[in-house]
């Protein structure tokens, strides 16, 4: 999978996952990942999974097979070709961000950082730059977001450096890889007291 290639090549930390083709396989994968897990429809088509009910969180051991079958039905009724179900470790709590890139018809590769997760397109709290960018630019992008206030307001220190590193990795991808669009969403930024770092839950590549 292209997503997997990118994340390993650029050392982007992705929350552990595997794709199950059957309910039995789902159970085996979930057992090895550890409970609870997140389960999502796997699809190479550009769909908004949450909007069609294709994302289920906090699934315990006993509900894995049932959830697999639910997701199979959901994808059939949504008219999506079924490619399996992603079984993923539940991400540690943190602040959800989006980091992405696209090729703009006028300015070429550009990079986007914003408030992430399912509300990304509603909040539209984003900072945009034309690539290439340096560490200072990346820092400035984060600081100009309204969401930056949240990083400061929760009384914990979040690992902004980890987020900035991820932004710079996307900058490298934008400059080297021939892909049209890329979403890392959400990128979960952890607090330093919980060990720091950041993790990407979902990667979407449009070639």
């Amino acid at each position: 999978m292209r997503q997997f290639d990118l994340s390993s090549k650029y050392e982007i930390p992705v929350v552990e996952y595997a794709i199950a083709k059957s309910a039995d396989e789902a159970q085996r994968i979930a057992d090895s990942i550890g409970y609870p897990v997140a389960m999502k429809i796997a699809s190479s088509q550009p769909i908004h999974k949450t909007e069609i009910g294709g994302v289920r969180l906090n699934i315990p051991h006993d509900a894995v097979q049932q959830t697999f079958n639910d997701l199979l039905r959901t994808s059939i009724s949504a008219g999506i070709e079924f490619e399996g179900v992603i079984i993923q470790q539940m991400a540690k709590p943190g602040i959800e961000m989006i980091v992405g890139m696209k090729h703009d018809q006028t300015f070429g590769p550009i990079i986007v950082v914003g408030a992430g997760g399912i509300y990304a397109e509603i909040l539209k709290d984003v900072a945009i730059r034309v690539c290439p960018i340096d560490r200072e630019d990346a820092k400035e992008m984060v600081m100009e977001l309204k969401s930056y206030q949240i990083f400061k307001a929760r009384g914990k220190e979040y690992d902004l450096d980890a987020l900035i590193n991820t932004i710079l990795k996307v900058n490298s991808i934008a400059l080297t890889e021939k892909i049209k669009e890329l979403d890392l969403n959400p990128v979960i930024v952890h607090s330093k007291e919980s060990g720091g770092g950041c993790e990407v839950v979902d990667i979407r590549v449009i070639e």
Partner: protein, 459 residues
């Protein structure tokens, strides 16, 4: 990329051929010739028209090739069908600078002819402004290819703001507005389809142009985004660029596949690129000049504002906007406070805004202005004189102009009122004082000046 074009002879020609010059007063080719002949252009003007001998008392030529001497600039106003032929003739004649007013090219789907224009330009090494444009006005060399009659469309005086516009209609309307507002320009260029010379070439030229201190732009899009960004970054370090972008609405964004594409629509990328280049983006055509003219003021050392008024309300409104736009209200030095206390009657409170009260005359304004001008804690001075009072006489105009000409601190005036106030405002503007009719616009413009001075002022 392309080598930098030398456009000096384009904008300061010594001889001009008007191709498509006409005897008919309502033809574009006539108006352009008339504007050149009667507008004070000191070089040679050659009308070119195969079926006329004399136009506006000038000897006409059947072709540019018949003109006996060198021609620096050709302005083409012929019907579309004739453009390629006369352009080729210009090439044979060795004319290197061309303005093509004529439309009917890529903007109506005729890409083929537009490519031919480009090909001819390349073959002869021509710089071409247009096609489909109004050309330019250089108030210094008195070259004017704008085909609106002077009695309908005012021409701004010579000044230090250059204005380049993709749209001819917008450009012309803004020129008219600038003339009315008393704002001077160094150069106006309407570049239409940017067939050969594009917005980035023009920026390169203005970067070098000694008369231009500030660059105002109207664009719908840029041809080569990355080259534009690179050049604009260089230009803004030396001269501020104030820009308005049309075509902001985001058709097509909804269909975007990724969140990133949905969040970064075409316009938001433009806006981000402008920011990255240090370009100041404005929202309205009047803001374009209201923001540009403040940049002819000296750079402030900081963002502490002193407000002098004779009307409490307008002073308070201004103070609100000062703070809302990220500027600060200055705290006067102790010696300033003492000086003011001694000079002012007791019903004037020594505060900022400094309300000189409704009975303030020009001499009270003089004392206040003198004190704040000398105070190192005041970086920027805003005067908001209500001209309508019994005591205030027009000598305040000379007073403000004389302080403004010292060029040590930025001074601007907000004055609100009807035709009497408007007359006084125009006098101030003509004296080089940036004037505004609302605290909202004035403080926004000043905050941009303070931002720019902080970012580039020390370089």
């Amino acid at each position: 990329m392309l080598m930098m074009r030398d456009l000096k002879k384009m904008f300061e020609p010594e001889s001009i051929a008007v191709i498509g010059a006409s005897r008919e007063p309502n033809k574009i080719g006539h108006v352009i010739l008339k504007n050149l002949v009667e507008g004070g252009f000191s070089g040679q003007v050659y009308p070119v028209n195969p079926s006329a001998e004399i136009i506006l008392y000038q000897h006409a030529f059947a072709s540019v090739k018949d003109i006996p001497s060198q021609v620096d600039l050709a302005i083409i106003t012929t019907p579309q069908k004739a453009v390629l032929k006369v352009l080729e003739e210009c090439g044979e004649k060795g004319i290197k600078n061309i303005v093509i007013i004529t439309s009917g090219f890529a903007e109506v789907g005729n890409v083929e002819d537009e490519n031919k224009v480009r090909e001819i330009a390349k073959r002869y090494g021509m710089a071409i402004i247009g096609v489909n444009c109004m050309g330019f006005i250089n108030p210094y060399s008195r070259v004017d290819s704008v085909f609106n009659p002077v009695y309908k469309l005012g021409r701004p005086k010579a000044g230090e703001i250059a204005f380049i516009s993709q749209s001819g209609a917008i450009g012309a309307a803004v020129m008219d507005l600038a003339a009315k507002m008393g704002v001077g320009i160094s150069l106006f260029v309407s570049y239409g389809n940017a067939t050969v010379v594009d917005e980035t070439d023009l920026l390169e030229h203005l970067y070098q142009d000694k008369r231009t201190k500030v660059i105002a732009m109207y664009i719908e899009g840029v041809k080569d985004g990355r080259r534009f960004l690179e050049v604009a970054k260089k230009v803004t370090k030396k001269k501020p660029i104030i820009l308005i972008k049309a075509g902001k609405t985001e058709a097509g964004v909804k269909a975007a596949a990724s969140h990133t594409a949905a969040l970064a629509g075409d316009y938001s990328v433009y806006s981000a690129a402008f920011r990255q280049a240090g370009i100041i983006e404005v929202e309205s055509l009047t803001d374009l000049f209201d923001f540009s003219k403040i940049f002819l003021q000296p750079f402030p050392k900081g963002k502490r504002v002193g407000i002098i008024t004779n009307g409490g309300g307008i002073g308070v409104l201004t103070a609100d906007q000062v703070l809302l736009n990220g500027l600060e209200i200055a705290e006067y030095k102790l010696e300033t406070k003492i000086k003011l206390r001694e000079a002012m009657p007791m019903h004037v409170n020594i505060t900022n805004p400094l309300d000189l009260a409704g009975d303030a005359d020009a001499s009270r304004f003089r004392q206040a202005l003198e004190a704040l001008y000398a105070d190192e804690n005041v970086d920027i001075i805003i005067l908001t004189p209500l001209m309508q009072t019994v005591h205030l006489d027009p000598s305040i105009i000379d007073l403000i102009v004389s302080y403004s000409q010292k060029m040590e601190k930025p001074i601007s005036v907000i004055t609100i009122g009807g035709s009497y106030t408007e007359q006084n405002r125009a006098l101030l503007e003509n004296g080089g004082v940036p004037t505004y009719t609302s605290p909202y616009v004035a403080t926004k413009a000043i905050s941009k000046l303070a931002w720019y001075a902080g970012r580039y002022g020390k370089e």
